[in-house]
């Protein structure tokens, strides 16, 4: 079950992705089920920008082997990764 902290993180990430990569889009078009990588929203540079955002906003470190669809394809997965890293810190 998603924690309150994880929910807040997911909201921040969603706001960032909407502002940076989907400007002008209806916010409802980005849901928890929207595939970010396999759906083409996050290309190579967009992925790096997202990683920099996560690391600077949440004080976590995302490893190179985690920059893929297994970890970053859906909003809840990204939020879980960030929350897990924050607990480990």
């Amino acid at each position: 079950m998603e924690s309150a902290a994880e929910s807040d993180i997911r909201g921040s990430i969603k706001d960032y992705i909407l502002a940076e990569f989907l400007p002008g889009e209806n916010p409802d078009s980005l849901s928890d089920d929207t595939p970010l990588i396999t759906g083409g929203i996050l290309d190579s540079i967009a992925t790096v920008k997202l990683i920099v955002f996560l690391e600077e906003s949440f004080g976590v470190r995302i490893e190179p082997h985690e920059m893929n669809a297994d970890f970053l394809n859906f909003l809840p997965d990204i939020a879980s990764l960030v929350e897990e890293r924050r607990r480990q810190a």
Binding site: E20, P23, I37, L42, D43, S44, I45, A46, T47, V48, K49, I51, V52, E55, E56, P64, H65, M67, N68, A69, D70, L72
Partner: protein, 382 residues
């Protein structure tokens, strides 16, 4: 930002520039003409750890921070008239040594870095492919898991140092469907690997003493410990190496621009075909002034990008800005130098003629100017 140099940094620059002027320039024009890689001079550079400036001393490197390493490369570009040799050092250091330092296992670092930093091992980066062009991650080279290792198949092209390399750092698709996002893996492949061969050296416009060729993998098996940076981590390995290359190779360029400016100022002050120095004519003095402006702007961009290499998570936009501006400034500066020298510079082997031929490729390698503009635009959200 304060980029005033310490006494130690100034000493480093003086020593490297003096070394380059004293030991690397004899026969530089002849090597360029004959397209000869100067292995003996390469090893002399290794004695100064030019091939391992920023690598920790425990691995045989110079242990310098990124800015000091940049200053050292600037001094190399200033003193060394063999642009091909400087380029070979940078290709080896920035696209091969740095990735192993940053992403290698302890065993890989101890196995490769001591030889690479002193020059006894020469490395080549093999990323570009005949069909993938600037879209580097659209590669077709495959690495299939087999017998506790990987079998590589594919052809790489434009591999600087390829004909003389002992070690190849290459990239292959381990999961083609994932592509950039976890589907690319970096490998360290020794030259004597069965199934690895290099093509004949290309005949190039410039940087001719730096040899370049294809590298072909035909069922080349490598053990699992040849993986660099983890399976699927190749995109990050390559991206970080490009940050270093785009920032630090620009340092050699600003050294070259300083050398060309020195030559041109001397020419403009001493040549007197009509009694007074040609530098008194605005047709000469204004291009020289432009050379100075480009040099100082380029220097600041390179220093700024380098200053972030040791601390920032990603400097790809800073590196792209520096690479774009410095490479185009280098070409413009070399063209101005040719104009000031006039017909003399139209003769093969003249310093300005060689510098112009060497400069052209700087807007092509490490991503063309158009690719740098794409990167900058994407970071701006376009």
């Amino acid at each position: 930002m304060d980029f005033s140099l310490s006494a130690e940094q100034r000493r480093l620059q003086r020593e490297i520039a003096a070394f380059a002027r004293g030991e690397l320039n004899a026969d530089a024009a002849e090597r360029d003409r004959a397209q000869l890689f100067p292995r003996e001079l390469w090893l002399r550079c290794g004695e100064l750890r030019l091939q391992g400036l920023m690598i920790p001393e425990i691995y045989g490197g110079g242990g310098l921070d990124a800015v000091s390493s940049t200053l050292a490369l600037e001094a190399l570009g200033h003193g060394c008239e063999d642009g091909g040799l400087s380029f070979s050092i940078c290709a080896h250091l920035l696209a091969c040594v740095v990735p192993i330092w940053k992403h290698g296992t302890e065993e890989q670092k101890r196995r490769y870095l001591p030889g690479m930093t002193k020059g006894s091992l020469i490395a080549a980066n093999a990323m570009s492919e005949p069909a993938s062009g600037s879209d580097a991650f659209a590669l077709t080279t495959r690495a299939e898991s087999r017998e506790s290792g990987y079998v590589l198949n594919g052809t790489k092209t434009f591999c600087s140092n390829g004909p003389v390399a002992d070690v190849i750092v290459t990239y292959a698709a381990t999961d083609p469907a994932k592509a950039y996002h976890g589907g690319i893996t970096a490998f360290i492949v020794p030259r004597d690997t069965d199934g690895l061969r290099t093509g004949r050296p290309f005949h190039k416009l410039g940087l001719r003493s730096s040899q370049m060729s294809e590298v072909v993998f035909e069922n080349a098996w490598v053990p699992a410990d040849a993986v660099l940076g983890g399976v699927g981590g190749g995109s990050s390995v390559f991206a970080q190496s490009m940050d270093w290359e785009r920032a630090c190779l620009g340092a050699v360029h600003i050294g070259t621009m300083q050398r060309l400016l020195d030559l041109v100022v001397t020419r403009a002050r001493t040549r007197r075909p009509s009694g007074e120095p040609v530098g008194k004519q605005q047709g000469v003095s204004h291009p020289v002034a432009d050379m100075k402006v480009r040099l100082e702007a380029a220097r600041l961009l390179v220093y700024r990008a380098a200053s972030r290499l040791d601390t920032a998570r990603d400097i790809s936009m800073d590196a792209a800005i520096a690479k774009l501006f410095v490479s185009e400034a280098l070409v413009a500066t070399a063209q101005d130098a040719v104009r000031v020298f006039g017909a003399d510079a139209a003769i093969e082997g003249h310093a300005a003629e060689r510098a112009l031929r060497d400069a052209i490729a700087s807007t092509l390698y490490s991503g063309t100017s158009e690719i740098q503009r794409n990167i900058i635009a994407r970071w701006l959200g376009l």
